[in-house]
Symmetry: C2
Subunit: 426 residues, 2 copies
Amino acid sequence: MIRFKNGRVLTLDGGCEVSRQEVWTEGDKIAFVGVPSDEQLREAVFEREIDLEGNLLMPAFKNAHTHSAMTFLRSYADDLPLQDWLFTQVFPMEAKLTGEDVYWFSKLAVLEYLTSGVSASFDMYFELDDYVKANTECGFRTVLCGAVSGERANAKVLEERYLKYNGIHPLISFRLGFHAEYTAEYGLLEDIGELAKKYKAPVSTHNSETAKEVAECIEKYGKTPTALFDSLGIYDYGGAGFHCVHFTPEDMDIFRERGVYAVTNPGSNSKLASGIAPITDMLAKGVKLGLGTDGPASNNALDMFREMYLLTVLQKLRNSDAAAMPADEVLKIACCGSALAMGLDDCDCIAEGKQADLTVIDLNRPGMQPLNNIPKNIVYSGSKENVKLTMVAGRILYEDGKFFVGEDAARIYARVTENFEALKKR
Amino acid sequence: MIRFKNGRVLTLDGGCEVSRQEVWTEGDKIAFVGVPSDEQLREAVFEREIDLEGNLLMPAFKNAHTHSAMTFLRSYADDLPLQDWLFTQVFPMEAKLTGEDVYWFSKLAVLEYLTSGVSASFDMYFELDDYVKANTECGFRTVLCGAVSGERANAKVLEERYLKYNGIHPLISFRLGFHAEYTAEYGLLEDIGELAKKYKAPVSTHNSETAKEVAECIEKYGKTPTALFDSLGIYDYGGAGFHCVHFTPEDMDIFRERGVYAVTNPGSNSKLASGIAPITDMLAKGVKLGLGTDGPASNNALDMFREMYLLTVLQKLRNSDAAAMPADEVLKIACCGSALAMGLDDCDCIAEGKQADLTVIDLNRPGMQPLNNIPKNIVYSGSKENVKLTMVAGRILYEDGKFFVGEDAARIYARVTENFEALKKR
């Protein structure tokens, strides 16, 4: 067992209170939460005791929408209008990607997630075998999101992947999903609705990211993307919508009724000038929420601290109300809501029997002082600088700035650069 | 001399190019920038040679608007409407502050600035003797901004401070300034205009932070705050306006003509729901710009990375244009523009003879990889995690997470907590 002692704990199991207690992990699970008795301490066998020195142990963050392997395009072509960026920069480069590229570019993303206290990603990309290899070798948890597009026949590809990747490894799962309405033929959407019913499974996809996307969908189908998906049974068993920036009250009703999570991506939506999602309206309607960074080509960081800050301050701006979107709510979305949006029901909080996906926040840094209110400190002043340790499934993968992922960070940086240089020449 | 070698350098002396060269410092100044000859290397005597290992040396950031000592109120009362926050939380607490409180609370701010690569602050607060002591003991550079309010007689107080604090210490200067139009009697504003003329000196103040402030000024004087100040000669020798959120084209014309810097505070303006400043309009009009965090009670971090990111993405959102506010422009504002807004003409860039206010950005971190474009990496992906070293006036005050400010960080944290607890009981 690993023992975390002498620290503060934010379990997020219900409320947002910080308390003085211990957490013990055994294998990949949380074995004990509380103040141990002398007898418990006598009987316990610890392989390691970690003195938290007053620092905070909390659930790791879950990144509920990303395209991890896009690290190679970070800062490659920013400050461009969206269409130019996508069609002249991103798509031509992606067309040349090999599986080996995806392997190295994904490993770089895993390193960055760990520096931001993230234990799991909900990831939409291709070359999945290589992506799975990169993540499992590092010991990182990932939920693959189906990303098919185009013609009806691709529903079969989606089904094959669903059956192949679920159960392939304890750290890997796969959820039904497709890229977006605007890249899918109607037949494909119909068949995905059938798959949802066949497997009684949630379906996740990009939804209403830009005003143009919604307007064109209404022109084509007479419905918003959300209403269209719902009419086809795609949301019959829930799922997640990524972005949800241009959302109507009726879209929100559908999400609430179907239990679909709106996964918001404030960094990407700001940087690409897509807009500010109506998050406080969704909360008022009872829509469930998750938080994600989107890919590193459009953010450009994979940093849940920055996302949390943006989530709250953009809602304050949008509502002209400094009281909008309190910090406690944001923390719960980033840890618990995001986990549940990805189907990681056993990774959402600190409780006995849950998966040991944890992070230690260094409170002994100037930006975390004084300790007037620790949750608010994390949301309003936290940064990667404050991440002292990240544990995934009971394994410490990051501690005091160093990575324990089976490979030197320097080698990963070098291979990312080499592979991108080679890709550019292809 | 201190030698920085084997690294990359972003001088910001003109353009935004990164090059392979060396920087040497001697005393408080930059002594050499370039690729040294064998002869230069033979003759030089280095007290320390720092191997940058490929990392980036750049000018330190300058925080061009803050109230440093407000660290004690960080996370004390967030998520409240602005008026409640100010009148029920902030003002009653500030009324009880002692000089010793300001001393400790300011030292905490200095620590945080150093973690964010900041070498200087433009600071508006009170208990200046204690504030000066805190900063000079740490070796941190600060420009005091006059903060008088109320009656005409306080112009004399301002003049006394101007004469007292300028020249008191090489790291300290003082600029004429006052709190804001809405806290100043007309007679005080008149007399400050006279002071500007008497000393041929720039004047800095809060300006057009909220819509209410501007509306009430127009109601009272028939003019915006900017037009009012200009009519009284307050801007005859330039200065700085803090916030400038609700700005008219005519206000911008006055700023450009008078050479007044608009110092933007996107974090605070977002968190307090004040609005998004029309920065791209100002740039198009030729208004000079600086960047600041505002105080830690309203931000809540003292983090120039977050401000830079917000500065660019909020302009992209405001203009619905992903190409708005490119990263290079943002970097120049955060380093050079901010320095010039504070009158630190010899701290704006890396060049021989300039003050040695420098920071080293750790590029060997996952969020900085690959090195497609280093300035964009800093603006779009940078965080405190990437600050490896901060030097102020030739002295290294922060390196590899440790502080060299003449006092243990732990003692500063403890004294901040003790003093705030005592203050609450007064």
